[in-house]
């Protein structure tokens, strides 16, 4: 079951095509990474999912039905460029945003008190936003995004501006909400958190969808079948297959070689095993999301 599904989305601004036939499916209860360089069209796609703008072509389905006005109550959106009213009190402001998400004052106050306590910011209720640090304001924005218990949470760079402790706090909240069945779209440039959190991703570049699918599957697919071996031997090994590098690594030697077609790592190691005195480590080189991102985006640029 897909929580949200964009089909063949086209969006144009004047003569500029911001999205060109982009389709993505975000499965329910998973974290979906929306990746792409700056200006690729991510924000445009997110705005279409939020009904901030309408697509010129294509359609968006929410829980299997065409996206409609009332669905905004089931979506929480934390934009990348986010602010608050500087002169307004934190509590009033959070209440205002909660009411716009369809909560009544009583519900909103109750929920907010719980969240403020959880983030240990209950003392700020009557403070003005201009008295708060950036990180504090970020916490409030995060709370107002998730307060109405959305089915779909769209987070654009949620960790920006947080210290490591608060990054951990937010990360845990995201994972907890995922466990509770919330679908999460995470747009970020931080590829480590993509590897760590995301189940699926879509990479958009220059208005086009470049790749979409499961994170592990994509990483394996983009692996070049290389193996890194750290070993000890009387002399440099004579790899049957093409060796990329083989050099001294502290007391050991580190070699990176390509596997032959259809050859597994086990078979390759077995071949060289007789000549090796000691093996410290063997690992298949699966490219990081960072590598894949750079590879795909710069390939497009050529």
């Amino acid at each position: 079951m897909n929580t949200i599904e964009c089909k063949n989305i086209v969006k144009e601004f004047g003569t500029f095509r911001a999205l060109n036939n982009v389709s993505i499916s975000v499965p329910q209860g998973k974290i979906f990474g929306l990746l792409g360089p700056n200006g690729a069209g991510k924000t445009t796609l997110i705005r279409i999912m939020n009904q901030i703008s309408l697509p010129d072509q294509g359609s968006v389905f929410f829980n299997g039905n065409l996206l409609k006005g009332d669905d905004v109550y089931k979506i929480g959106y934390l934009p990348e460029e986010r602010g608050l009213y500087k002169k307004m009190k934190v509590g009033d402001q959070a209440l205002y945003l909660a009411k716009l998400k369809g909560l009544n004052t009583r519900q909103a106050t109750r929920e907010l008190k719980i969240w403020f306590k959880k983030f240990s910011i209950d003392a700020w209720w009557d403070k003005k936003v201009e008295e708060l640090s950036k990180g504090m304001a970020q916490k409030i924005q995060f709370i107002t995004t998730v307060l109405h218990k959305p089915k779909l949470l769209i987070l654009d760079e949620p960790f920006a501006g947080f210290d490591p402790i608060n990054v951990q706090l937010i990360r845990n909240e995201i994972l907890r909400m995922k466990d509770e069945g919330t679908t999460i779209i995470l747009s970020t440039h931080n590829m480590e958190s993509v590897e760590e959190l995301c189940d699926n991703i879509a990479l958009i570049n220059k208005s086009n969808l470049v790749v979409t699918g499961g994170v592990d599957e994509i990483r394996r697919k983009h692996g070049k079948n290389q193996v890194e071996l750290i070993y000890k031997a009387s002399e440099a090994l004579n790899f049957s297959s093409s060796v990329i590098s083989d050099e001294v690594f502290k007391d050991y030697r580190k070699a990176i070689f390509n596997l032959e077609k259809e050859e597994t790592t086990k078979e390759a190691i077995q071949k060289i095993l007789p000549e090796v005195d000691h093996i410290l480590s063997v690992r298949e080189l699966i490219p990081s999301m960072n590598d894949i991102f750079i590879e795909l985006v710069s390939k497009e640029a050529k």
Binding site: G14, I52, V72, Y77, R82, G83, L97
Partner: protein, 452 residues
């Protein structure tokens, strides 16, 4: 459109603005200033009478001026003759007078000159008293020189003093007296208020839009509110602020001015007309109103002014004022919102605001024409055309005879229609504008956004 959300947005806008210190100060201070402006001149007028008596020494060598100067409560003239001006001047301190006036003897052309010596500047009033006495004296003297028979009778016969009383014939045959200056003053004040406050509250909407855009909360807001709802909420919220502010102003000014008039004003009128008995009656009856005061003031100029004021249908004028103010505000506020959405800080609004304030300024100029010719073709068309009608129509309404109902309805109808059209167009620009950052927008950009 989700009315509930517009309501929430308007509520916040209203609450935030009404709680501001600047709002509270302005709301309380303005009526005080306004009332002071109306009250202080009359207080000064009354206090003039209590000023210490001035003492003026007149050295009249011509012999024809001094006899025409009359001492009164404010000034005494001390007339001397055949003294040496130079020695008097030297001993000015010992004379104990406020001024020494020297009138030279008549020369061959029957002329003289007058010089006033004083340590302080003479008041305008005193100077003109002396001047009038001198001119009058010299004129009479010269006329007498011709030795015309029955001169006094001829002069009395020639003397004229005619004023124009304008009586307005109502449709029901009723006659009302009118002082066009009063209508003009009311028309001028109301029109100017519309001009100033449409701009002021329009700017408030623009600032609010810019604030939300530049601190980027708008990005959070528009995932729950449609841009059009957000814009409408804002405009309605600020309208609420305007209405509350006006009501407080009207009530406070009214209380201050009428409170003053009821206690002190009646005394003034009795002083000026001498009709104390009736005024006191009015005062004692407790039912203070202008028309009974006017009756008390009787046939004097003041009486007819008061009659004019009491003949003005204030509830009708204020009703029209509110309609035109609110509709005019709504018409312009949405344009201000659209412009606010296109910029990131107020400094950038200049070139974009100019074209939308231009019709208002033109309206202001037409209004000046309308005072002179309330029924000219230009006045008529400008009071129908929605971008100028709030001001020009408001300039026409207070005049006696008023504006035909069909013109009023046509003008209001068109204003409503244009308001809806303008909000629709502004909404389209606003929707795109609030999410655009970076490049400074031009009119060309706004035009492009309309088609997104």
């Amino acid at each position: 459109m989700n009315l509930n959300k517009i309501n929430i947005v308007a509520g916040r806008e209203f609450k935030v603005r009404v709680k501001k210190k600047s709002f509270i100060i302005m709301t309380i201070l303005t009526p005080i200033i306004f009332a002071a402006l109306m009250i202080i001149p009359s207080v000064i007028m009354m206090n003039d009478m209590g000023e210490p008596q001035k003492n003026i020494m007149i050295l009249d060598n011509s012999g024809i001026v001094a006899s025409r100067l009359q001492s009164d409560e404010s000034v005494t003239y001390d007339i001397i003759q055949n003294k040496n001006i130079d020695s008097l001047k030297q001993n000015f301190d010992q004379l104990g007078v406020d001024a020494l006036v020297e009138i030279t003897a008549l020369d061959e052309n029957n002329n003289f000159t007058i010089t006033a010596y004083s340590t302080k500047q003479l008041s305008m009033e005193m100077k003109s008293n002396i001047k009038h006495a001198a001119n009058d004296g010299l004129e009479k003297y010269k006329l007498a020189e011709y030795d015309i028979k029955d001169l006094k009778k001829i002069l009395d016969d020639v003397k004229t003093n005619i004023s124009v009383d304008n009586v307005i014939l109502g449709e029901d045959g009723q006659e009302t007296e009118s002082h066009v200056e009063i209508n003009m003053a009311i028309s001028y004040i109301l029109t100017f208020i519309i001009y100033m406050f449409v701009l002021m509250f329009g700017n408030m909407v623009m600032q609010s839009v810019i604030e939300e855009k530049s601190n980027r909360i708008v990005e959070i807001l528009i995932s729950s509110v449609k841009p059009f709802e957000l814009m409408c909420g804002k405009i309605i919220g600020v309208a609420g602020v305007a209405i509350v502010q006006f009501l407080i102003w009207i009530i406070l000014t009214g209380v201050l001015v009428f409170g003053f008039t009821a206690t002190v004003g009646a005394d003034m009128i009795s002083n000026m007309t001498g009709n104390t008995e009736q005024v006191v009656q009015v005062q004692n009856s407790g039912a203070f109103d202008i028309s009974s005061l006017a009756a008390a003031a009787g046939d004097s100029e003041l009486g007819s002014i008061l009659t004019t004021i009491s003949n003005i249908d204030f509830s009708y004028i204020l009703g029209c004022f509110f309609i035109y103010f609110i509709l005019g505000y709504l018409l312009y506020a949405s344009m201000f919102a659209a412009i606010g959405s296109a910029v990131e800080n107020e400094a950038d609004t200049q070139q974009l605001v100019m074209p939308i304030t231009a019709p208002m300024i033109i309206g202001l100029f037409i209004m000046l024409h309308t005072f002179q010719h309330p029924d000219s073709a230009l006045s008529f068309w400008a009071s129908i055309f929605p971008y100028t009608s709030p001001m020009v129509m408001m300039a026409r309404i207070p005049f006696e005879g008023g504006v035909p109902a069909w013109q009023l309805l046509l003008s209001i109808g068109l204003l409503l229609l244009f308001f809806i059209g303008t909000v629709y167009i502004s909404g389209k620009i606003y929707r795109v504008g609030i999410l655009k950052y970076g490049k400074k927008a031009t009119w060309k950009d706004l035009w492009k956004w309309l088609k997104f």
